[in-house]
Amino acid sequence: MRIVVCVKQVAVLGDEVEFADDALDVDPDYLDFALNEWDSYATEEALRTRESLDADDDEIVVVSVGDPRAENAIRRCLAMGADRAIRVDRSGSADPITLARLLAPVVQREAPDLVFCGVQSSDAVQAATGTALAELLGLPRVAVVTRIEWDPGGARATVHRELEGGLVDVTEVNLPALLTIQTGINQPRYATLRAIKQAEQKEIEVVSPAEGGEPAFRVCRMFVPPREEGAQMLDGGPADIARRIREIIEERLK
């Protein structure tokens, strides 16, 4: 079985934030970078799937879109135990549809039995790349997966997916398929220093990006919303305050 895990190196905001001169993004000087939290769960789930199915020819391939800096996140996955990695060489941020278009040909070429993505990335929080990629690949997809139980042989799985309001949808899926993995599905392992050092030595295949096509959206300007006047302090007991809040809401809704 071959499992492809799509991962992203996300930007992490520090205490202070400034926008770049063109106001199209945050100034990278104010950003740290890390492996997207959801993707560490996806990588761990791939490793556990391999371990539970225990087949000889299993392979876990990590695919990411980014500039050379993104290799830090990729190597984190290799240190956890992924076998191989491919980086689609492209700098700058991209919308989820563009990302899916860039990932699709690379994933397709690997002909995976299973594709894992994180539910969302912690910086963009769009939760769309995984499902868009499934559409482009023509794969069945299960989103927001919190539990996977494999049939013997691994051709089919019973999958729990998280719905709103604490509901869980239990469904079955045949391979090949794409699953977006929710945090908490497992406890991602930590890489030892030795594994980190070995991952540093591994070759990461770099491929040129395919045509991204028309982006799903464009950033026109980033700015801090202007501060507005008019905070109104309410006095009185809880019941008085609740009544007053209701009146205010009703007035505004008119």
């Binding site: 930590y190 220093l193 030795r194 594994a195 980190i196 050092k197």
Partner: protein
């Protein structure tokens, strides 16, 4: 990040008589074990706070004469011109950082045992000290009064010569001027005793004379206790202090207001166990209302919001700190730079004070391992050089106080990667549960500070929920391995009194428990009758007694020592802890050691009973606070079974133990141990501490060649 404007008031200058202080951060007089006889340690220690932004720093109590010799404890001294030379270094270094230098002129009266000078102290009345044993003062006649006042004047002139900007006529903590003010000490019937005017006369005259001598270019400070908590006998705010302030306000440039006498000065230097920050504000506010002069005072302030509130609400003009300035000499600068989460907050454990009370050792701090090491080890609390072996990866096993500190400092010294691996799900080790003992919540700051710092260090990674065996360590891939696996309370009653186990003691039984089992593992303490065996002598036994008694159990606390928790006398926690235990009905059995423990009963003998008569106590549960033992299994496995040679073949160039894992000790010493190893990780042999500078007189002579 720039300073939050709401803290601006803390950075406004203020006039103290002829001197201007650049901001509102003042390091109150406090001891450090250096005095005037370790002058460079003294100067570097105070200057670190000036570098960190303090607007003024004071000496500890500074003796004006051999008649006021506090040996065995260490004070500063201004007895002669050589003392002037020594203390002038401190003044110079403070001035280089733009801070004022203050000297707290001190005359102890009956409290000064004069063990070095063998002089006789003088006092208002001849009653032995309530703080010392066997020390009496000579009762002062009028000539004595003139002579002692002249001692103040001469010392003030020497202080000015040394470069001090502020001189105190210090009364608080029951020293001579306040002795005159207080009926408890002053039984005189002449014009220096009786009415307030008479009791105030000695202090007022002394202030006048000192002012006359140096006041034109030196600020005069008066430190007064406004409540001794002894009823009519002690100094009282309304009756004595406020009238005294009105009487002397014209001749004083700044008031330093606190509370307590000397025998229970933990009411002033409040342990966090009993008091929050700002406990002295009501007295400080009362003085501020009647005085036209600036009022400063302590309150173990670590929060800039509380500081601002104290100033804006008219309770203080200047924020004085003692312990918070030891814990973080850069407190002002961090507030100024908007780096509030970098503040190393004092936990109020008073381990610093314990060293003065013990009488001699240098100051230490649980939070700040560099306190007292500024000169002799050259350590700076905020600056770290890159280690020569920074291209190495380090593995620290165990995230207790020692392991956290070591990983943090290794990270700050730029090691390529540091992995801090912990069996539990979170950092802290013993400090995950010790702060849950009654009153010890603030002690959790030891963990919080380090957690935040470690989180900020990109080269340090915390790895929870992971237990490593020797093989795991060997194959982990680190070049440097640090084992910090802590210690545990023994389960068999082994103790430092008999150097043997206690017959029948076995904490695998449901009725026999250790502190960790109760606090960490949630093991239930059965029955209503609990006997705690305390051979430790610090906070654990009494804290568990308080906790279990508060939960409604009948608690007996048995120790082989003459007192329960004698170390808590040094931390000033003892008086109020005794009050608590007494109120809770805890039975205290000193001088006893168990000979046999069984379900339902503890049999013990008096330690000085040569016939070993036995007595039996009923006990549904027995808690063993007898001693700790290092958890050194992993280290022993690595050293004895795997062998350091085999580790070296795996690329591991050093394997060290730190903290309780090496030998159980104070939390402050665990933090120091982790810090010390990280500071010296690139020395020839990091296991052995590098020599430190010993400030001492060395005889110039050739050594005979052997």
């Amino acid at each position: 990040m720039p300073r939050d404007p709401k803290y601006d008031v803390l950075f406004e200058p203020i006039q103290l008589g002829p001197k201007t202080m650049k901001n509102r951060f003042y390091q109150i007089p406090h001891c450090n074990g250096f005095g005037s006889e370790k002058p460079l340690s003294q100067a570097y220690f105070r200057a670190m706070k000036a570098e960190g932004g303090y607007g003024a720093c004071c000496t500890e109590y500074c003796s004006i004469s051999p008649e006021s010799d506090d040996t065995h404890r260490v004070s500063a001294r201004l007895w002669d011109d050589d003392d002037v030379k020594n203390l002038s270094v401190m003044c110079e270094m403070l001035h280089e950082h733009g801070a004022l230098a203050a000297a707290e002129l001190w005359y102890g009266g009956p409290h000064a045992p004069c063990m070095e000078s063998r002089s006789v102290p003088r006092g208002p009345s001849q009653i032995p000290s309530d703080f010392e044993y066997l020390t009496y003062a000579k009762e002062m006649d009028k000539d004595d009064i003139r002579e002692v006042q002249q001692l103040y004047v001469d010392a003030a002139k020497r202080a000015r010569e040394a470069g001090f900007d502020i001189v105190y006529v210090y009364g608080s903590h029951s020293y001579l001027p306040q002795q005159f003010l207080t009926p408890y000490y002053n039984k005189r019937t002449d014009e220096y005793g009786g009415s307030l005017e008479n009791r105030a006369r000695f202090w007022r005259e002394t202030i006048e004379q000192v002012r006359e001598a140096v006041g034109d270019d030196t600020a005069i400070a008066v430190r007064m206790s406004c409540d001794m908590f002894m009823g009519d006998a002690g100094t009282q705010l309304e009756r004595d202090c406020l009238p005294f302030v009105e009487l002397c306000d014209e001749i004083v440039d700044v008031w330093d207001i606190n509370v307590s006498g000397i025998s229970e000065w933990g009411e002033d230097a409040t342990p966090s166990r009993f008091y929050p920050s700002g406990r002295l504000l009501p007295w400080q506010e009362a003085v501020k209302k009647v005085s036209k002069k600036p009022v400063l005072g302590v309150g173990r302030f670590t929060s800039p919001d509380l500081m601002v509130d104290a100033i804006n609400s008219g309770k203080l003009d200047i924020i004085a700190t003692c312990r918070p300035s030891i814990s973080d000499p850069f407190l002002p600068q961090k507030i100024d730079e908007g780096r509030l989460d970098d503040i190393r907050e004092c936990i109020g454990c008073n381990i610093c004070i314990s060293r003065w009370e013990i009488g001699g050792p240098p100051v230490i701090c649980t939070q700040n391992a560099t306190a007292g090491e500024e000169y002799r080890r050259g350590w700076h609390p905020e600056k770290f050089d890159t280690a020569e072996n920074a291209d190495n990866d380090a593995l620290v096993v165990g995230a207790g106080p020692a392991g956290m500190e070591c990983a943090m400092i290794l990270g700050k010294r730029g090691m390529r990667r540091v992995h801090l691996v912990e069996a539990e799900e979170d950092m802290g080790g013993i400090m995950r549960w010790i702060p849950q003992l009654p009153g010890l919540g603030e002690w959790a700051r030891v963990v919080n500070y380090r957690k935040i710092q470690i989180d900020k260090l990109p080269n340090v990674e915390f790895i929870p929920g992971t237990t490593l065996d020797a093989n795991g360590v060997k194959e982990y891939g680190a070049e440097i391995v640090v084992i910090a696996t802590g210690a545990n309370w023994v389960t068999d009653g082994l103790n430092g009194c008999t150097h043997d186990t206690i017959s029948g003691a076995d904490a695998s039984q449901p009725w026999c428990l250790t502190p960790e089992q109760i606090m960490r593992d949630g093991k239930e303490v059965p029955g209503g009758n609990v006997l705690i065996v305390d051979n430790d002598g610090y906070f654990m036994g009494v804290s568990l007694a308080e906790k279990l008694a508060s939960e409604g159990k009948k608690v007996t606390l048995m120790t082989h020592l003459g007192h329960i928790a004698p170390y808590m006398h040094f931390t000033l926690e003892a008086p109020n802890q005794h009050r608590k235990l007494h109120k809770l009905g805890v039975d205290i059995v000193p001088y006893h050691i168990p000979t046999r423990i069984e379900q339902g009963a503890v049999t013990a003998t008096h330690v000085y009973d040569d016939e070993a008569h036995e007595q039996t106590w009923d006990a549904d549960a027995v808690v063993l606070v007898t001693q700790r033992r290092s958890n050194e299994a992993l280290y022993r496995e690595l050293k004895d079974r795997v062998g350091f040679d085999a580790l070296e073949q795996e690329g591991i160039t050093g394997c060290y133990r730190i903290g309780d894992c090496e030998a159980p000790r104070l939390i402050a010493d665990c933090v120091f141990s982790g810090h010390r190893l990280a500071r010296e990780i690139d020395s020839d042999n990091p296991e052995v501490p590098k020599p430190f500078i010993r400030e001492r007189r060395v005889i110039e002579r050739e050594l005979a060649v052997a």
